[in-house]
């Protein structure tokens, strides 16, 4: 099994989620994060004092999938999160050793 972590633009979340759903992904987790990267942040000004905010709001999607599904999932994310603008984000693939469903105790692929 693989864990796919994708950092994407917030307004792409629904598209990505629906895309993953369509290829058979049955669950995923979403976190609001602040990203730092090539995409520049913005300036804020409070009573004449200027602050550079380096961080950009991003969404992190975490989804654990059967290794067979991984490349398709990556492809789907790539397509659905794509705008072509800087800051579209990254996808990271990490190894997962085991998965357990709390409710049933199932393990492995059937726990997904």
């Amino acid at each position: 099994m693989k864990k796919i972590e994708a950092i994407i633009k917030p307004f792409k979340l629904d598209d990505v989620k629906d895309g993953l759903s369509n290829i058979g992904v049955r669950g995923l987790s979403v976190t609001e994060i602040k990203g730092f990267g090539r995409q520049r942040g913005h300036k804020e000004v409070y009573r004449g004092a200027e602050y550079q905010v380096d961080f950009v709001s991003k969404i992190k999607i975490e989804v654990v999938v059967d290794s067979d599904l991984a490349s398709e999932a990556v492809k789907t994310i790539q397509e659905k999160a794509y705008t072509g603008q800087i800051g579209d984000g990254k996808i990271f693939i990490l190894p997962v050793e085991e998965v357990i469903r709390i409710r049933t105790g199932e393990r492995g692929n059937s726990a997904l």
């Binding site: 307004f11 629904d14 913005h42 300036k43 804020e44 000004v45 905010v53």
Partner: protein
């Protein structure tokens, strides 16, 4: 001069002033958090800009000596000869300045109401220009027609105690024009524009309700039985509309919502405004209850018609104001206000016709003028922010600020 009347009108002016920040919260809570400041800013800065406009030329255009029933003269520019003494035409028992500043608060909130229609997507510079032009070319004349001595709609005998046509229909109809010209927000139809802070919206609604006592009862311009009556029916209509809105949505959607209660309360306040000095308490219950139902319907219809009136100015103020103006023609009674007129249900069908005429004229005038002003502004400087600005949100894009940083 009467100190009690003056105290009442000045305090009413303070209450009405508070309505504009109240509106800022009411609207601000309904937007997405990236637009909260941009939305609040529009109302807040109108307090600045229109107050100055009103003092410099607005009051004179609206209430200055009449020219042909159409507009006030420029005799009172910069409040020239508007002083501490009563003015026999408008306020026999309170200082002329008290009347002026009370009316100032009405001139302020009216364009602020419109901002709900183009929330989350208008350029700040275009917005400022629009506001000044709209006040000058729409509000001031309309105010003169309806309320000034010599104004031609007043001359027809139309009843508008506290601003059904001048404030609510004019802003509601202008909102429609603005929504059409500005176009839909990015992602319309697919994005969920979920209110980011409903407690803020409800706080705003509460301040509106509170301030509306000044708006309607203060319009008696004296503190007498009529003021108490206007105060009472204002409260009752709002209460009735809050209830009828949530009952209808309970039936229609399965659950009553808090936003519905707040929206209903505002709808009721809008609807009772023109008749608040002319109708009795039981009429107020009916006017309010109907307002809740009508405005709920108006809000629903929006999505059918396909314009993006973001915060439902048309459905609440346009429709609510229209219902209120017509309802005044139905429920007005000389038993409540001998200086008024009887409505249809009290035997005078003619009044309903007069009300109808005043509504149609206001609608046509406000819609056409707003459309023209915005069209020209759009051609000359553009009225809409860029896509990227819209995605980032007004707060960061237009004001270099963020609403929250918990």
């Amino acid at each position: 001069m009467n100190t009690g009347d003056t105290a009442f009108v000045l305090m009413s002016a303070a209450l009405v002033m508070l309505m504009t920040p109240g509106l800022a919260l009411f609207y601000g809570g309904m937007t997405r958090s990236k637009n909260v400041l941009g939305t609040i800013m529009q109302s807040f800065i109108i307090l600045g800009i229109i107050s100055i406009e009103w003092v410099l030329w607005g009051y004179s255009m609206a209430f200055g000596p009449d020219h042909g029933g159409v507009i006030g003269g420029l005799d009172w520019l910069g409040l020239d000869s508007v002083g501490m003494e009563p003015n026999a035409d408008y306020c026999g028992t309170i200082p002329h300045l008290a009347f002026m500043i009370f009316q100032c608060m009405f001139a302020v909130i009216t364009p602020a109401l419109i901002t709900g229609a183009f929330a989350e997507r208008m350029k700040f510079s275009a917005f400022l220009l629009f506001t000044i032009l709209w006040a000058t070319l729409v509000y001031n004349p309309l105010c003169h027609w309806v309320w000034a001595v010599g104004g031609w709609i007043r001359g027809l005998g139309a009843l508008d105690f506290a601003g059904g046509t001048v404030v609510h229909i004019s802003s509601g109809v202008s909102a429609l024009a603005a929504a059409i010209i500005l176009g839909k927000r990015l992602g319309y139809g697919s994005t969920a524009y979920i209110p980011h802070n409903l407690p803020m919206t409800i706080t705003g609604a509460a301040l509106l309700w509170f301030g509306w006592f000044g708006f309607n009862a203060g319009s008696a311009l004296a503190c007498n039985g009529l003021a108490a009556s206007a105060f009472t029916v204002t409260h009752i209509a709002s209460a009735a509309a809050a209830l009828s809105w949530i009952i209808l949505e309970w039936i229609h959607r399965g659950k009553p919502t808090t936003l519905g209660a707040a929206s209903g309360a505002v709808a009721g306040l809008v609807a009772i405004t023109p008749g608040s000095g002319f109708v009795g308490p039981l009429s107020a219950i009916i006017i309010g209850a109907m307002a809740g139902l009508i405005c709920y319907g108006g809000v629903l219809v929006k999505s059918r018609l396909g314009y993006d009136d973001s915060l439902d100015v048309v459905g609440v103020h346009g429709l609510g104001g229209t219902w209120g103006a017509l309802a005044t023609g139905l429920f007005a009674s000389k038993a409540i206000n001998p200086a008024g007129a009887d409505g249809l249900f009290f035997g005078n069908a003619a009044q309903l016709w007069v009300q109808f005429v005043s509504v149609i004229v206001t609608m046509a005038f406000a819609f056409i003028m707003t459309f023209i002003i915005l069209k020209i502004l759009d051609i000359v400087i553009g009225v809409r922010i860029t896509e990227e600005e819209e995605v980032r949100g007004m707060d960061v894009s237009l004001h270099n600020e963020s609403g929250y940083s918990f």
